[in-house]
Amino acid sequence: ETAVFQTPNYHVTQVGNEVSFNCKQTLGHDTMYWYKQDSKKLLKIMFSYNNKQLIVNETVPRRFSPQSSDKAHLNLRIKSVEPEDSAVYLCASSRLGPQNTLYFGAGTRLSVL
């Protein structure tokens, strides 16, 4: 049963455009994440929020910015997309704590032409 919802499923855009991806979780979790998965399936964390506060900010280009309105929502904006941004962006949520399971959405596949 899906409890982490991502929109859109797919997005095709051109270099230099701005895109935004949405993520909502209905699990009552207090921590949310954005991961980037490349064409080789490699997963890298980009950001992590706990109760709307940024707690993990990996080395990602400045054109990426997360936006959290409340603890159930974590959006991702890319200001001026580059070809290397083509990937699947996975949103996840969990309770705070290292033992807790991450629940993932189905992902947003971005293609930059």
Binding site: K41, I45, T101
Partner: protein, 112 residues
């Protein structure tokens, strides 16, 4: 710093055969260890996790994993695979409140 290695990029097994997917971690103490699975066009789902206690942990769909401190390993096993087990399997490690770090994944193909 924590890290995890999945030495097999791709594994092919026949339906009904047993399976082992390998995972080695690097961390000075015992971290939290997880196995996740990703089916095509879906997000990741957790199969099982370990931190302490019985080194053999049971997961969903008949999967189990065995933790070995001496070998720094957390291998995933299944006694009899089904074609629907074809997916990408990720081992992951988390030390304290650090980020969850994933291995590169192992693509499992179950042939009829």
């Amino acid at each position: 710093a924590q890290s995890v290695t999945q030495p097999d990029a791709r594994v092919t097994v026949s339906e009904g055969a047993s399976l082992q997917l390998r995972c080695k971690y690097s961390y000075s103490a015992t971290p939290y260890l997880f196995w996740y699975v990703q089916y095509p066009r879906q997000g990741l789902q957790m199969l099982l996790k370990y931190y302490s206690g019985d080194p053999v942990v049971q997961g969903v769909n008949g999967f189990e994993a065995e933790f070995s401190k001496s070998d720094s390993s957390f291998h995933l096993r299944k006694a009899s695979v089904h074609w629907s087990d074809s997916a990408v399997y990720f081992c992951a490690v988390r030390a304290g409140y650090n980020k969850l770090t994933f291995g590169k994944g192992t693509v499992l193909l179950v042939s009829p």
